[in-house]
Amino acid sequence: MTPFLVAAAEGGGASLDFPILTTMVALPAVGALVVAVLSGRRPELCRLVALVFSVITGALTVGTLVAFRGADAGFQMIEKTTWISDLDISWHLGVDGISLFLLVMTGLLFPIAIIGAPAARDEKQFLAWLLLLEAGCLGVFLALDLFLFFVMFEIVLVPMYFLISGWGHAERRYAAMKFFLYTMFGSAFMLVGLIATAVLHGRATGELTFNLVTIANDQGSIATSSARWLFLAFAAAFAIKVPVWPLHTWLPDAHTEAPTAGSVILAGVMLKLGTYGFLRFGLYLFPEASAWFAPVMVTLGTVGIIYGAIAATMQKDLKRLVAYSSVAHLGFIILGTFSLTTQGLQGSVLQMVNHGISTGALFLLVGMISDRRHTREIAQLKGLQKVAPVFAGVFTLVMLSSLGLPGLNGFVGEFLILLGSFTSARWWSVVAASGVILAAVYLLWAYQRTFHGEPDADNEGFAEMNVREGLVMAPLLGLIVFLGVYPKPVLERIEPSVVALVAHVEANSDREEPDVNQLGPDARPDTYTRGREVLEEHRGGEEELGSAEEEGE
């Protein structure tokens, strides 16, 4: 691996001879096949092979990060091969600042899920499905072709369906079916929408193509009113996938019934397919329609934040509580995305990664609790802090990251989102900010009930975190702290693409980005760059950010 990584770094990105992105998608799929033909009687061998494949894939995503040219806003390392010639559909992959960290997060979470949450039985099939899922997820983040995107977006349903229905908990069949049908329902709209997009674009330009970049850059080839309908068709699929309130009802069931690894991937990676879809196929493909629908989306996002938080407070099941907290967190991401400001979008992209890390970690921890106690009922758990202090400490850190404590990763993302949305949708932002408080309520309350107090007879034997679990959690904890203290390297790679995206939206709609520093009617466009620089200075330390927030309000 190492020589290759060096080569990738030296190659400096786009002119790479080695098709790194295709390899990244193909490798887990090959791994799935390899695992599938191994003997099911040797689960440890299957696990080893699966781990090797997912770690190499993870290394490839890191290689992409190394080779990525941070100042470049466009797509890099583009690979394109014709697939279906008469419709101009191609195997077209590329990465930009928006997808980059989602790739890395995906590459990280899969090995962790494989080590951290082994299946109770039939390990071989379980691992094969997981690897297949990884291929599909990476494919979604990389696809630059409408058709290819849809294929990848749909194909992830199959492994996830089998993971839930095969290794889930009591209500797994119902949850798996609900998950599959719900998502497919949205996809039906998207399929018709994407065909109509290609057809309308083809009619206007005389050239039928499914190339995302071509269509997105030919704004105006599709009439405004059609574009709005098409946006809705795409939004139906993404809103279900995210999920945006009120389309979230599949999520608590699927997350709760899925096996731990399934929940980690579902929350960590698969929900991002929807939010990423909004960025790539909403804002980028239909900028005018996105701006036009922004008030609706911002409202739905805000409702999701509050609704998810209140619903989470009411849950008796720890896993369900985490599931509902996802609804709230994703509400933030939607809010930031449709604030259509640089800060909001940056925050959204960062928060996608943050949510993957912290909620993934939370699901792992809840999985560990449920493995030890065979229950996830909050009422059955008590005083765990006494018997397992390290476990409780890890849980605390992850929980604090999830509720957005300054100094940890969740804060940076939520702060940027609130900052961005404050400039463009002030009152929504104010309401959303109260969601942060509600998050503290449900998480701290749950923590109090499960970890505080004296352990009763059932909980006395609760085992402390072992070395394997500790090793699994370590990289996540490290990232939680690192991204909280020093998010700059991440943000500065996200920024060029986000700035370009906001400019794309502004150029194609009558929307203008309000200035962060000079709110109000006298905001001048020429202060825009300065404003960004000022913000960047603030990013270094958290106290400054905190004070900036106070100033903002």
Partner: protein, 516 residues
């Protein structure tokens, strides 16, 4: 004497025998088998089954080879009609003949193991496949309504008998009678439609009809429109489109499983061949009259096929409804009325034939002796005992549901693409939403196989202990069929270009035909 003299003067058309070669191979194959099977010693019927299967497959392959030869010559000879303008040789007919032959191969391979298992003897099913396929070939090639009817009847009569070929099973006989009665009824509609069209245009040759309609304006269109409507009834019956679908569940359930595979593939392909040539090509100038009817048929089939399938517990009945849903998808493509629509229909037919062949391959095997184990509960725990079989069925079902990277997805994609290009996005949306509903049905079967218990809503405790899947023995021929279908389903899903190009080449000739 004068009568005889007159007979002598009747001009018989020149026959270009080489152009008829696909049809001739099929018919000669059937005749040879009919002749020789009588000479074989009666004892040990099982010994001959393999021979019959091999012969049938060889005949069908010969038909395919004849098609390929003619296909290669097409650029030189061009689209042409032979036998006095009653029989067309064009890319369209050759493509569909290939699909029908494929259906025969699949059915024959599945029948091999089926006959041994059920202790049935004789060459009858094979003969009937060949005869029925010969009728299908005529339907795919006919450019005269009377010849088309001839093909329809040859196809149907053999299919009626096929449904009842399992003589000891009561249901098989019931299916045959039902199919026969309702089928004859629809044939009568078809014939009456021809009569009305003849009354309106004075011709039965499609080329003459198209010419007549392009050169004249009818003062009263009622007769013609009624005729078109009746033809649609006839075709709607053959392709199992709602509301002419009511025979489908009973017949699919009752007929021997390999025969059901044949009905779902070859018979459907022949029906669509006729539908496309008669309605889309011949009456292309009346598109605004027939298009709404096709729309209605498509929507009804999509919804009936998807919704009613959900409540079934018998897998063969489920497949019957799902085939209605698929017919709806193909009608969606037909309704586009464009070259893309025809391409999409052909692509759909070809891929669907393969998928359904594989699906019924598994169903035949799981049906076990007596061909009666088709309840959803019979599939419980199949994944545990026969993981490969279950995996194959899963792939076929997911392909039918339209999961990407299978041929089934591309088929749906092309159909929706065609209709959206034709400006009816709403129909595409209805189609895709119906696909979501039918996905529920496919997932129920998958769930039964993998999760063990009978039904999603059944108690968790009833795992393999109650699910009665003993080891099922898959005969060699069935294994080969399933494996090939599996490879083709995924292969076409990954690399669709060759088939798409072929389907595309197959269509312009057909559309060019109507200009003459």
């Amino acid at each position: 004497m004068t009568l005889l003299a007159e007979v002598d003067t009747i001009a018989t058309p020149d026959i270009a025998w080489s152009a008829l070669s696909p049809f001739l191979v099929m018919v000669v194959g059937a005749t040879v088998m009919l002749g020789f099977s009588g000479l074989l010693p009666r004892r040990g019927p099982r010994r001959w089954t393999g021979l019959f299967t091999a012969f049938t497959v060889a005949t069908a392959l010969g038909t395919v080879v004849a098609c390929i030869v003619l296909w290669r010559d097409l650029p030189d000879t061009g689209t042409r009609t032979v036998v006095g303008g009653a029989y067309a040789v064009d890319g369209f007919s050759l493509f569909l003949i290939g699909v029908i032959a494929l259906g025969v191969i699949i059915a024959a391979l599945l029948t091999d193991g089926y006959l041994r298992r059920e202790d049935l003897e004789g060459p009858e099913p094979y003969l009937l496949y060949l005869a029925s396929a010969a009728g299908g070939i005529i339907m795919a090639s006919a450019t005269d309504l009377i010849v088309m009817f001839l093909g329809l009847e040859i196809l149907s009569l053999a299919a009626y008998v096929l449904a009842g070929v399992h003589r000891r099973r009561l249901r098989s006989g019931e299916a045959a009678i039902k199919y026969f009665v309702l089928g004859s009824f629809s044939s009568a509609f078809f014939l009456y439609g021809i009569a009305l069209i003849y009354g309106a245009t004075g011709a039965t040759s499609m080329i003459s009809i198209a010419e007549f309609l392009s050169e004249n304006r009818l003062t009263d269109e009622g007769l013609l429109l009624a005729g078109i409507g009746m033809l649609l009834v006839g075709f709607g019956f053959k392709v199992a489109a709602a509301p002419f679908h009511s025979w489908t569940p009973d017949v699919y359930q009752g007929a021997p499983s390999p025969v059901t595979a044949f009905m779902a593939t070859a018979v459907k392909a022949a029906g669509f061949a006729g539908l496309l040539r008669v309605v889309v090509v011949t009456f292309s100038s009346y598109r605004y009259d027939w298009q709404p009817l096709i729309y209605a048929l498509a929507v009804a089939s999509l919804l009936v096929g998807a919704v009613l399938a959900v409540v079934q517990t018998d897998v063969k009945r489920m497949m019957a409804y799902s085939s209605i849903n698929h017919a709806g998808f193909m009608l969606v493509a037909v309704a586009a009325g464009t070259i893309e629509g025809v391409t999409a229909t052909l692509f759909y037919l070809a891929t669907y034939t393969i998928i359904v062949g594989g699906t019924f391959g598994v169903i035949t095997v799981v049906g076990r002796r007596g061909d009666g184990h088709h309840q959803l509960s019979d599939y419980g725990g199949l994944a545990r005992r026969e993981p490969l079989l279950a995996l194959a069925l899963t792939v076929f079902l997911l392909a039918q549901a339209g999961t990407p990277l299978t041929s089934g997805f591309l088929a749906k994609f092309y159909a929706v693409n065609a209709v959206v290009e034709a400006g009816s996005s709403w129909l595409g949306l209805v189609a895709m939403l119906s696909a979501v509903i039918s996905a529920f049905l496919y997932l129920r079967i998958v769930l039964a196989m993998y999760a063990g218990a009978q039904d999603p809503d059944e108690a968790d405790g009833a795992e393999p202990a109650t699910s009665p899947v003993r080891r099922v023995k898959a005969p060699m021929a069935a294994k080969v069929t399933i494996a090939l279908a599996l490879v083709a389903t995924i292969g076409i899903g990954l690399v669709p270009d060759p088939l798409t190009k072929t389907a595309r080449d197959a269509t312009p000739d057909l559309v060019a035909d109507d200009d003459r």
